[in-house]
Amino acid sequence: MEITLDRNLFMQIGLDSGALTMLGTVVHSLREAGEYRGIVRRSANPEAAFYISADKNSPVAQVNIDLATLANPSAGSQACCGVAEKNRFVVNPKGYILFHVSGGEGGYSVHVRKAEEAADTKIYDTRELQEGDVFTATLLRPGTYSVSNLLTKSKGEITVSYPKRGDTAYRPPSPHVVECTAHGIESNRVELKPGQALNFHIKTPSRIKIELIRPDDGPGQPRDASVRGRKKPSLSDS
């Protein structure tokens, strides 16, 4: 009897804070009380709408919004309620909204704005993370990754070590934290254990993109010949 696994968990290797997939999350705080309307988009296409009440009297400090369930109500892993209830959320304005993707191909971004007609109402767009946001990337595939902030053009490198079968069951350590400032990505070389999350605390407008540049197939395994993002040195280059 085979277990049913979401292929995207192991096949989607890169991450993009502006196109969320299963292993990426964005945390945002609304800060101001009020009624909000959000749109889930894939590329430029709106996929679903949802509503958030930022209520000062609410004790809820964290609300998880599963973009996969909103975009495809029948497929989400947290399908439990009627559609009308599934797209309404309540959170304290000082609390946090966590956008995540429970399954499927993903690639979602989110627009959130106050549900009022004023033309100058600010729009929050996950494709441009704001100060105070947190983007979390969980990297499973061992190897070396490039990480870049597309808005500040800063870069860094992440290495994910190969999993080891030890004497005890492995549990990924606590998330590693880096800050994204106007000056770049703090600690631009990060070493992670397999499955360890990396929290990007956003201090300047950011869009974080992570790409695999050198896979690690473990001890004794042949290296993947298709190394992306690097050019093989040749005599003509020198």
Partner: protein
Amino acid sequence: MSHITIAASANAFEQLFKALRDRFHFSKHDSGDFGPFSASYEIELHLEGGSIQLNNDNTVEVTDVDVVFTKLKLTVCLEIPQFCIGGGCVIPDPWNGCLVSLPRICIPPVIGGKHCVDLDLKGLVSEISDIKAKLVPHYFVDPARLPGWSDLDAEFNGHPNKWRIFVDPVWVHVDPVDIPATVGNLFENLVKKAIDDMIPSWVPNWAKDWLWSLIGPVADLIKRIIGIVGEIHEWIADLLNNKFHIFDPLGLIETAVADYFASRNPIYELEDPYPILESSGGLIPVKIPIRDLAAEVNSKEMIVSANAGT
């Protein structure tokens, strides 16, 4: 003094007993569900070997009879737990641990169903270390005999009454099944293969290695699911030897052996009335009724005595 005395030497008695022993076969199966795991067993066995001793205290003692399992299949089904990642803290709360935490991603997504492994333990041997028995005669009225039949009718129809002599055990002791440590290793390997088979073939090798790192050593996983602290082969032995009061195959074997010898299969039987002369030349057979049959043993022989007449 008895009218009839039949004696069988210790050697002849041993041959009678061996023939009886060789006809013994036993099979049984049982199962049980214990939450995160379930187990079932199937056994088929026969008896071999052993030594027999006739005692002057009118008892028969049989020792060291091998219980040979021609089938001993133990099936253990385990509910493989979920292994989850995520759940780490995104925004710590200085007073209350964590203000915002990541959602968890679990593999498999849903707990459900048990994964079974079959342990073929055929060939293992236990032992009936001791049977202490007395000879007990029983009068047997053939249930197929019709009420209107005379003794001659019953004989001609193959349903005569009989005196039967049973070896009636006072006790039977079957030693616990000894499970070698290699069975624990075999069980581990089977569970490992069952988990390997659960992982879809499209999963890349690095991801399989990652999943196995989460699962950890298989022996630890098995112990965690079943809830044991000792060695796996010891748990299997305890399961089969009724330490947990779940299955009691040994008790069933002891009962079956006792029942087999005490009431189902006589070591010796005599027709009643007993034929003195066979029928021949148009004459009916000559038979004498037997009463007051008794059977006893001493260290040299079995003696069956009876009186003739009604």
